[in-house]
């Protein structure tokens, strides 16, 4: 099946290059919400209307209008099994909402998986662009270009005063959610994180876990995004996010330097201990593996560990997710089996690197 291509590998090709500030920033993501004129939003759309939205939107990318982004492929959600859906969510290629609740849902992906265009999610159209490291401006430009391609052939629901109309009032206006995924272990360890996150909230940004709304921050990875979509230009939103993230990077870097200067033995012990546990444990829960992989990531940046590479760590972050484990080691498994297979995967990946 064609869709399997997107669920075979844990790491999307776009993630293989680091991008700027990659020691702290994992990725930058833009999401633009758009709706078609004259059709009810997916929430109220009948099966036929959902089909019509799909029929209006899907052909736009069938002619490969953006050759520099590679070929695009349409994947219909109801043609996927549950496991493939789960893996696509774990790779951030589709939202949990599209995977579980959509009618007539589909996603258009390009070859390196840096562009994901969701159809019939909460809105008719959700354009998502992912870039490694801190590249919010680049991600916005690409998303905006894809938006223009759609706008040339379909009529958007747009209002003079309110801007792009969306199903949820929290997205109206620009329809833009710009977010940056950051790894902040030193700020967590030195207990400065809450103070910083509070400050972030006061400037119109919000912090979530890595799997979006309502998800918990695991492995010291946080997703920082704009809250406001109305009354600010896209440029202002991106500028604001970029400015705040740059400051957070600075704080994290200072905190890392301080940790290394003030308690080098303790931090080395923590990192090597995590390496040891990941390399030899027989049972490994997701939360623990995320935390220990975070320690390894810090260890690599501080020069305490030579291996594994950041790319291997990014891959492990996805591979240790429940869906991907099932994909690799065979379908149905209990949570204990999953913890066992996760430990096996980690042992085999990290053990060979000694």
């Amino acid at each position: 099946m064609s869709s399997l291509r997107f669920t075979e590998q844990a790491l999307s090709d776009w993630m293989r290059s680091g991008g700027s500030h990659s020691e702290i920033v994992i990725s930058s993501r833009m999401r633009i919400a758009r709706n078609l004129e004259h059709l009810p939003f997916p929430l109220l759309a009948s099966g036929e209307q959902a089909e019509e939205a799909l029929n209006q939107l899907a052909p736009v990318f069938a002619s490969n209008p953006a050759p520099d982004l590679g070929t695009f492929e349409l994947v219909k959600l109801d043609e996927l099994d549950e496991l493939d859906k789960k893996v696509l969510v774990e790779k951030h290629l589709i939202s949990p909402n599209l995977a579980n609740d959509s009618r007539g849902g589909a996603v258009i992906l390009n070859a390196d998986e840096s562009v994901s265009i969701m159809i019939n999610e909460e809105d008719h159209l959700r354009i998502q662009c992912l870039f490694p490291g801190l590249q919010v401006k680049e991600a916005w430009e690409r998303a905006s270009a894809i938006d223009d391609i759609f706008e040339a052939s379909v009529n958007y629901a747009f209002d003079d005063r309110r801007g792009y109309l969306t199903s949820c009032p929290t997205n109206v206006g620009t329809g833009l959610r710009a977010s940056v995924m950051v790894h902040l272990p030193a700020l967590v360890m030195t207990q400065q994180i809450n103070r910083i996150l509070t400050a972030v909230n006061q400037v119109g940004l919000t912090v979530r876990g890595i799997y979006g709304e309502g998800s918990e921050a695991v492995g010291n990875i946080f997703q920082i995004s704009n809250q406001i979509t109305l009354g600010q230009t896209e440029g202002e939103i991106i500028e604001n996010l970029h400015g705040v993230v740059t400051q957070i990077i600075e704080h994290e870097r200072h905190a890392r330097e301080r940790l290394l200067a003030d308690s080098p033995l303790r931090i080395t012990d923590r990192i090597q201990r995590s390496y040891g546990i990941l390399s030899f444990a027989a049972i490994m829960e997701l939360k623990e593996s995320a935390q220990r992989l975070s320690d390894l990531r810090l260890g690599v940046d501080l020069g305490i560990l030579e291996n594994p590479s950041i790319s291997v760590l990014n891959e492990l972050n996805v591979k240790t997710q429940p869906g991907f484990l099932q994909k690799m080691f065979g379908d149905e498994m209990t949570s204990t089996e999953r913890d066992m297979y996760r430990a096996k995967l980690l042992r085999e990946t990290l053990g060979s690197q000694h």
């Binding site: 709706n35 004129e37 706008e151 209002d159 792009y164 809450n194 909230n201 406001i228 600010q232 896209e234």
Partner: protein
């Protein structure tokens, strides 16, 4: 205690907002609450923002039964998709793009609360946007013209009127 907003009427509604563990309290009167678009507990169909934006507002435990007659927004419904305002306030989602038009009266306070603003200033769609640029310019000129008339500068007003006519003609093409 006086209302924090107007400083005139006594505060009868007391909210505690907890965002990411940070607690803020505010005390306002009913009429300011309504203006701000806050849900007033005890009024049927009052807008409940907490069902919309989890964590933004925690209204549980606020003084119940103190509010009086609800506003007229609950009677609104969208003639295109049939969604009523009270359904909208429960679901936290619009049913179609026309809901924005039919619920317009109620949206300013909501958007001000959520976004701190009520009007879009960002990107315009290229095709539909060209018309909007014209329209915005015409609206601006009309305002200037009214201003000129009010100040009895009729010559300026006449010039503005001609500019408006020209733009309207261009727009029609």
């Amino acid at each position: 205690m006086l209302c924090q907003e107007c400083g005139v009427r006594p505060a009868t509604l007391h909210f505690t907002k907890i965002v990411n563990g940070e607690k803020t309290e505010f005390h306002i009167c009913e009429s300011c609450a309504r203006e701000k678009g806050e849900m007033i507990p005890g009024t049927a169909g009052g807008f409940s923002i907490h069902s919309l934006l989890s964590g933004l507002l925690d209204l549980e435990g606020a003084g119940k039964g103190k509010a009086t007659a609800a506003t007229n927004v609950q009677g609104l419904h969208c003639e295109k998709c049939g969604m009523t305002y009270s359904q909208f306030s429960k679901l936290g989602r619009f049913g179609c793009s026309s809901c924005y038009k039919y619920f317009d009266n109620a949206l300013d306070p909501l958007f001000r609360r959520v976004h701190g603003s009520t009007a879009h200033v960002g990107k315009l769609p290229k095709r539909a946007g060209a018309q909007i640029v014209f329209k915005r310019r015409i609206d601006e000129l009309k305002q200037e013209m009214q201003q000129s008339i009010a100040e009895e500068e009729f010559e300026t007003a006449a010039e503005l009127r001609d500019q408006i006519r020209k733009l309207e003609k261009d727009m029609a093409q």
